[in-house]
Each structure stands twice: as structure tokens, then as C-alpha cells.
């Protein structure tokens, strides 16, 4: 139970605490201590309102820490004045300051990689070790990065606030980039056994909704970003089978897609495309919408998808977009048309497991079985995710056995 609360509530509790005590490190340590205390204390006597218990306990611990550090600032003095007040009982007593926190974590005075790391640590509650694995760096390196980012918040005077109106569009765009990275981390965890870290996807969607609810955020791409995440996340139940194994898009049981979420996503993207020229999030969302509209995999309008990838490539000529375009071409015009497009990407994508998996798939469809098996083996060697590795192993065994 504590695990679930940690995942769901960490960001909201921490953002409220930072606002209350005015110090990132003290708030974070105090909240960690409160969760540790919960493990022992709740075994005997679970509180009626766990969130309020955690917030109240962490707040007291934070005040103690500020005192112990002999930094009896005006802040600590003011806080201890109402220390005798009973701990908050209602949920509303835990302030939701996540919007403030996300603008602080995504401040342009912080390096982009530090912005993402700080958001994952503070808002999403990932451990330093988990973030390190997501970024493929040693834990010590990531710990150092987080320490430096928090030190800079203090030394540079980065405020804990939502930016001024005229700054919002540019600042919101940076926040959106971070939200999308968080979503991707949840949608396809870079390593480990969990293929879908649902709570991260949910957190990214929630962050986008919070940002969207802020009245003066005039960001056209925000609706498109939310649509994109909703449409991808709608497939979550169909993406893994009961054994936790990965199911590719073409083989998914589409009745298990979240229809309500798809409808919300499609409505959002239709509005976004009507009101503005399509940006990158809108194009990706449109691609996801075309998939969502196909009742059976065979009904998918691959020509339209290939066209959308073409437009995306014009704006963002990245090899990964080119790879996806080649997959769409293979579905629209056949594997023989797509293989040269994929082969041309080898210099840039040789270290990317999906490059080899895509190549293997095309070779297999062209009946070049041995080459397909060796490409799948290469993909498996490069894959970081256990579920993906098992999936690729099954493809290798299935093809070799024929």
C-alpha cells in the first residue's frame, strides 16, 4: 500500500512541502523520512488519511531539520509558530503545488538533462538509481547531476513560481518537452522488467492536464501533446499479454484499447489541427489517431501514415523518424520498397535495437530467413528491456524452427 501511495502521491506531497519549507533538500529528506516512518508505524495502526498523515509528518520532520541545522530563519520561526496545530486531516490540507514545481524543475538556467532528471525525481518520485538507468549513466553520475541542479536552484536564485504571462509560451514549451520525455520513459522503460510504467504515463498525462488548466497558457501544441499521450496510453492493456510479454501493434486485441481515452484524444487532435498548422506533436498524434481509428490491424490506412511521417521528417529530419516512415512504406507498398530505405540508415542507427528489429522483419517478409535471424539476434543483443528481449528471442526461435 505504501508503495502505491509513494508512486501516486510523491510529487504532490513534495511540491507542497517545498512551498511550505522553502528548501528542496530539506523537503525531500523529510518526505523520505516520513515514508520510512510509515513503513513501521502503519503496520500497527494505519491512518484514516494516509496522504495527510505523510504530509503532516514530513512537515514536522522538515521543521526539526531546519532547527537542527541551526538555520532558524524567519521561515522556520514562522512555521514553528503553528506547530501545535493538529496535523491536517483533510486532503485539501495538502496543497497541490506541482505546477510551480514543474516550472522550477524545467527552468532554462538548468541544463536540459538536469531538467528531466529533476522532474523525474521530484515530481514523479523516481529514485536516483531508476533515473540513472533510464539515462544509461552510473548512479553516482546521476546523483551528482541532481545535487548540482538543486545547488544551482539555490545559488542562481531560481524562483519557485509559475512564470510571468509574457514568458509562459516559451517556458511552457520547455515543460512540454520534459513532460513528453517523462511519458516516453513510462511508455517504454529503458531497462528492467516493467515494460510499461503506467504511473509515469499517467503522471505525464496529469502534468499536461495541469498545464492545460492554467488559464493563460497560450500553447497550441499542448492539446496535441495531450492527445498524443492519451492515444498511445490507450493501448496499454493490449500491449502486454497476461504473462507480461510484449504484443506488437499489429497483433494487439483492439477491443482492449481504452475507447474513452481514444475518443478524447481524437477530439483533441481534430481541434488542434483545425486551429493551427501541425507541429511535431500534432503530426505524431495524427499518426496515433490513424492507428486508433482502424478497427482491425488490416484496416490501417498506411498510405496516410507514411504521408504524415513524410511531413514529420520534413520538420525533424531524424533517423528514427526516417525508420518509422520506412515501416509505413513497407505496409503501404511492400517490404521490397522499404528495405533500401532502412538499409540507408545503418550508419546512424547501427546501435539502435529497433533498427535491426525492423530490418529483420522486412527480411523475414521477403523470405530471407537466415539474414532475418541474424538481424533479430543483433536487436536482442542491443535491447535494454527484458520484455523486448524475450519478444525478440521468440521471433528468433519461431523463424529458426520453420
Amino acid at each position: 500500500m505504501i508503495d502505491a501511495i509513494y508512486k501516486a502521491e510523491w510529487g504532490r506531497l513534495l511540491s507542497g512541502l517545498i512551498r511550505a519549507v522553502g528548501d528542496f533538500d530539506v523537503a525531500e529528506e523529510a518526505l523520505q523520512d516520513a515514508f520510512a516512518a510509515a513503513v513501521t508505524e502503519w503496520a500497527a495502526n494505519a491512518p484514516r488519511n494516509p496522504r495527510a498523515w505523510l504530509y503532516g509528518t514530513a512537515r514536522h520532520k522538515a521543521i526539526d531539520k531546519l532547527r537542527r541545522r541551526a538555520r532558524l530563519s524567519a521561515m522556520a520561526a514562522a512555521l514553528s509558530a503553528d506547530e501545535e496545530a493538529p496535523p491536517p486531516e483533510e486532503d485539501s490540507a495538502v496543497p497541490d503545488e506541482r505546477l510551480r514545481l514543474i516550472f522550477t524543475c524545467c527552468h532554462p538556467s538548468l541544463a536540459p538533462d538536469a531538467q528531466v532528471a529533476l522532474t523525474l525525481r521530484t515530481l514523479c518520485g523516481l529514485t536516483t538509481d531508476e533515473i540513472a538507468r533510464a539515462f544509461l549513466v552510473p548512479t553516482a553520475t546521476m546523483a551528482q547531476r541532481l545535487v548540482r541542479a538543486k545547488a544551482k536552484i539555490r545559488s542562481a536564485g531560481i524562483p519557485y513560481q509559475v512564470p510571468a504571462f509574457e514568458e509562459l509560451p516559451a517556458r511552457a514549451a520547455m515543460v512540454m518537452a520534459v513532460i513528453y520525455l517523462v511519458f516516453n520513459e513510462g511508455y517504454s522503460a529503458a531497462q528492467g522488467d516493467a515494460l510499461i510504467r503506467r504511473e509515469l504515463c499517467a503522471e505525464a498525462i496529469r502534468l499536461a492536464r495541469i498545464l492545460r488548466a492554467l488559464p493563460p497558457v497560450p500553447v497550441r501544441e499542448l492539446d496535441a501533446l495531450l492527445a498524443l499521450m492519451l492515444l498511445h496510453d490507450a493501448r496499454r492493456d493490449a500491449r502486454v499479454d497476461p504473462n507480461g510479454e510484449m504484443v506488437p501493434l499489429g497483433a494487439q486485441d483492439r477491443r482492449r484499447w481504452d475507447r474513452a481515452q481514444i475518443e478524447e484524444g481524437i477530439a483533441l487532435i481534430e481541434d488542434a489541427l483545425r486551429n493551427a498548422p501541425a507541429g511535431p506533436y500534432a503530426l505524431e498524434a495524427a499518426i496515433a489517431a490513424v492507428h486508433a481509428e482502424a478497427v482491425r490491424a488490416g484496416d490501417t490506412d498506411w498510405k496516410q501514415i507514411a504521408g504524415l511521417y513524410e511531413r514529420l521528417y520534413e520538420r525533424h529530419p531524424s533517423p528514427v523518424v526516417a525508420l518509422n516512415r520506412a515501416v509505413a512504406v513497407s505496409m503501404a507498398d511492400g517490404a521490397a520498397a522499404a528495405l533500401p530505405l532502412v538499409d540507408a540508415l545503418e550508419p546512424e542507427l547501427d546501435g539502435y535495437h529497433l533498427f535491426h528489429a525492423t530490418r529483420a522483419d522486412l527480411l523475414h517478409r521477403l523470405g530471407r530467413r537466415e539474414e532475418a535471424v541474424s538481424a533479430w539476434q543483433r536487436a536482442r543483443d542491443l535491447a535494454q528491456n527484458d520484455a523486448e528481449r524475450r519478444f525478440l528471442t521468440r521471433r528468433i526461435q519461431g523463424t529458426s524452427a520453420i
Binding site: 532554462p108 538556467s109 538548468l110 544551482k152 531560481i158 512564470p163 514568458e167 516559451a170
Partner: protein, 111 residues
């Protein structure tokens, strides 16, 4: 005439704080030239810096200090801002930000 005396040295020297003997030397320097000195501040290290440019009317803010060598230091403002957002806002209004860069660096305070 007025002159600006700029101090350049390897900031790694101060990673673990300031040497008290050296601080005393700075104080002695300040006393010796008290009638001539119009102001002076120590800066926080470059890892606290933010660099601001304005191009085509759009503000570009990047983390870290000014790193180009093609441009030369041409002037400075010492400002009082409530946080870095206000300081960045002011930096972006300096005409020079349209042609070069303005590095925003917090002032070090000694308690």
C-alpha cells in the same frame, strides 16, 4: 578617469571555500584604496551562470556561462532583482543582447 579592474583566475581554487588569510588581504586592499574604490563584488562560480541572447526578437536562454571568444567584454550592470527570472528579463532588454550575449551571474555574499 574611472577604471574597471576585472579579476580573472581559476575558480576551482575556491571550491572548498575561501582562504581566510587571502580574505584578510582583500580587506587590506579595500582599506588601502578606500578613497578610490567606488564598488566591488565577488561573483558566484560559473556553474551558477545563465546566458541570455536576443535574436530576431526571440529570447534564447541557456544554462552556463558565456563561452565564446569572438566577442569582448564591453560593459556591465549591477542590478537588484528579486530572482533570476527578473534578472534574465532585464538582461534581454539590454541592446547588446541582440548582438552579443549577456551573462547573468549572481553576486557572492559573505556572511
Amino acid at each position: 578617469m574611472q577604471y574597471l579592474l576585472l579579476i580573472y583566475e581559476n575558480e576551482k581554487r575556491f571550491e572548498n571555500g575561501f582562504d581566510s588569510k587571502e580574505m584578510a588581504e582583500y580587506q587590506a586592499f579595500g582599506k588601502e584604496f578606500a578613497s578610490k574604490i567606488e564598488g566591488g563584488k565577488a561573483l558566484k562560480p560559473t556553474n551558477s551562470a545563465t546566458t541570455v541572447q536576443v535574436r530576431n526578437g526571440k529570447r534564447l536562454t541557456t544554462d552556463g556561462p558565456f563561452a565564446e571568444t569572438k566577442e569582448q567584454l564591453g560593459g556591465f550592470y549591477l542590478v537588484n532583482a528579486k530572482d533570476i527570472d527578473e534578472a534574465i528579463h532585464m538582461a534581454s532588454k539590454i541592446p547588446g543582447a541582440r548582438f552579443g550575449s549577456v551573462e547573468v551571474r549572481p553576486i557572492e555574499t559573505f556572511s
